[in-house]
Amino acid sequence: MHDTTAAHHFHAEKNKTVGRFFEHNKRSVFYVALILLFAAFPLTGSSYWIDLGVNIGFYTLLALSLNVILGQAGIFNMGHMAFYGVGAYVTAILNTVWHWPVFWTMPLAGCAAGLFAAIVARPIIHLRGDYLLIVTIGIVEIVRIALLNDIGGLTGGSNGIFGISRPVLFGFKIVKPIHFYYLVWGMVAVSYLLFYMMRRSRFGRALNYIKTDDVAAEGCGIDVAHYKLLAFVLGATWAGMTGSIYAAKMTTIAPESFNFMESCIIFAVVILGGGSQLGVLISALLFIGLPEIFRQFNDFRMLLFGLAMMLMMIWRPQGILPMRPRLYAVSKKLFSGAKESTSKGQEKIA
């Protein structure tokens, strides 16, 4: 009797695995189509639409990086703009004062943001939920005020920094919105892939354990504080690199671009995204696209945006696309072994 049940389980497993395989291919087709769609978009639009695309790209990058912190590890970070700002200012200062090419400053901007995150997060990372939330708000406000007060005479106060040069990639100068479009969305693609791989690894799993139950995670042998910090630093580093490109795109940056409200928007993008990267992408599209679509309503623009924010959350309380379960290749051989011990277990009970 139990033999047939076990065999039945085995077949079901096999079918499921086969099903997963097709699903996997369907997903590949979907992603190829998505990439083609994004690649083809600038061919149709005016420079305004392309520029909007670049903006959405920046926010997608920021949201993907925050997704590591907030969506994967469940750390309430409402001050992500601080790291974006640090990255942007590092590039701006290195470029305007010491005339470093923008692309050289990018890794440095990322490291600076990551280092900054490591230093400020170290003493506070153990704080729970809302207390961490207010502390991260504090960080973004302190950074903004520091930039505003022209620390070390380098940040230019409220005027910010202007005259940042355009990045040059292999002799090609990136100037037009369409160039930035491909640069930013190329970065989105790379980040998307890397974070996808990260999620399907020991590191990604550890973050999910921590998000679900950090006491249990610690009890299983996961260094919770260390991984929280790592997630924080990784997300911040990415935000810093994004800030670096942002500075090059705008050529002029000011403290007001890195305020608390912007952090809130990014936070909302991630929450509406629901944890999955595709969800975050769609969410960024909605959040940055909608205010622009509402442009024709002039004064009513932001009113409608606020309303849409509420409606979207009510429409999708868990977010647009929740995280998908990871896939594991559990080999056939293993399964025959598993089947044996299962039947053994059942014998014992009987």
Binding site: L52, S158, I253, R295
Partner: protein
């Protein structure tokens, strides 16, 4: 929900398809966000002027079409608004308020070959870039700093406390004034910033009082100025106070109260109601008729001046950006709503048109004749 979104998308695309023969100009201003009141005034004034002109048959036999975009007082949104206006193929753009916001749009308009006339962007560096198509109808911080310093010296103050609000405008003015005061030998004994948007400045006034200045020069905006005046009075501290052109707003006295505001003075370009020119009077009359009030902010009036300059270029058959810019660079003596209008080679407004206003016993702004 999805259908609604689709419908919205369609709505956005349709207007782009049908266009008649018009002269298109853009107005970029903050319709939402913290500076929304300025943006609304700018929109009111410019659309009134466009409407009047079109009722008279337009220029060059064409009607003028005004396209208004919201920049939300935020550089990122401003860059998008600028792209949107570029896509709409306007020849010239009026705006915007705030130097950092203007700066974010400068290079976009420059690359797209569109004339830009900024209205409330006083940061010196905007015109130091010497972009060929960029102009502004507002004075620069250094001009105002000089005017302010002269007014202070003339009144014989010796110990000045300068206070700004860390906005790029107020800080610029504060720094320029400090430099000019130093040249005139007036001591600046205090220099710091307050946080704008708050209500309670007692802590700051208490600190200022220990420094014991004979004049407080707050370079920021009228809401904070009003609160400072009011709370200073409540403290029972009678020290003179002055401001810059951001204080030139009728609500100042309402906020401070007549008693507290009495004797306060500021330097500013004049409002139309303070001028005797025909252009100013006519404009004021039609503004009052349409909006049942007087223009309250000088910056919005400067948007009207910017429009005036563009219209005069159109009237002389300049219709592409290059020739408009060529015309504007040579322009001088055009009657604007805030005095004579003209531009120099950098695109800055020429002429010295700062006046000193004092609040009198009835709470009215009285212009001083120089």
């Amino acid at each position: 929900m999805k259908k609604l979104l689709l419908l919205l998308l369609l709505c956005c695309l349709i207007p782009a398809l049908c266009q008649a023969e018009t002269l298109k100009i853009g107005l970029m201003c903050p319709l939402t966000g913290k500076w929304a009141s300025e943006g609304h005034d700018m929109k009111n004034i410019v659309s009134l002027l466009v409407e009047e002109r079109n009722n008279l048959g337009g220029v060059q036999g064409k009607t003028i079409e005004l396209i208004v975009e919201d920049d939300a007082g935020d550089p990122r949104t401003a860059a998008l608004a600028a792209q949107k206006l570029s896509s709409a193929e306007v020849v010239a753009v009026i705006g915007t308020y705030g130097s950092a916001v203007t700066e974010a749009s400068q290079s976009i308009f420059d690359e797209a070959g569109i004339v830009q006339i900024a209205t409330g962007s006083t940061s010196v560096r905007l015109t130091e870039k010497e972009l060929p198509l960029f102009f502004r109808t507002c004075p620069r911080d250094d001009a105002q700093g000089l005017a302010a310093a002269e007014a202070i010296a003339k009144r014989g103050f010796k110990k000045v406390a300068i206070l700004h609000d860390n906005s790029s405008y107020a800080k610029g003015l504060a720094e320029e004034s400090r430099n000019e005061l130093k040249k005139l030998g007036v001591g600046v004994i205090f220099f710091d910033a307050l946080t704008p948007g708050e209500r309670d400045y007692n802590a700051i006034l208490t600190k200022l009082k220990t420094a014991d200045p004979d004049l407080i020069f707050f370079t920021g905006y009228y809401p904070e100025t009003g609160m400072l005046l009011r709370q200073k009075k409540e403290m029972g501290w009678n020290v003179a106070m002055m401001g810059g052109d951001a204080a030139n707003h009728q609500d100042l006295v309402k906020i401070a109260g007549v008693d507290a505001a009495k004797g306060y003075f500021f330097v500013s370009p004049p409002l139309p109601q303070d001028l005797n020119s025909k252009a100013a009077k006519d404009f004021l009359a039609s503004y009052k008729e349409k909006y049942k009030s007087e223009p309250v902010s000088v910056w919005a009036v400067l948007a009207g001046d910017a429009y005036k300059a563009i219209e005069s270029a159109f009237a002389l058959k300049h219709s592409d950006a290059k020739s408009i810019a060529g015309y504007l660079h040579k322009l001088s003596g055009l009657q604007g709503f805030s005095g004579d209008l003209g531009f120099d080679a950098k695109g800055d407004r020429i002429g010295k048109f700062y006046r000193t206003y004092t609040v009198n016993g009835e709470g009215k702004f009285v212009i001083e004749n120089e």
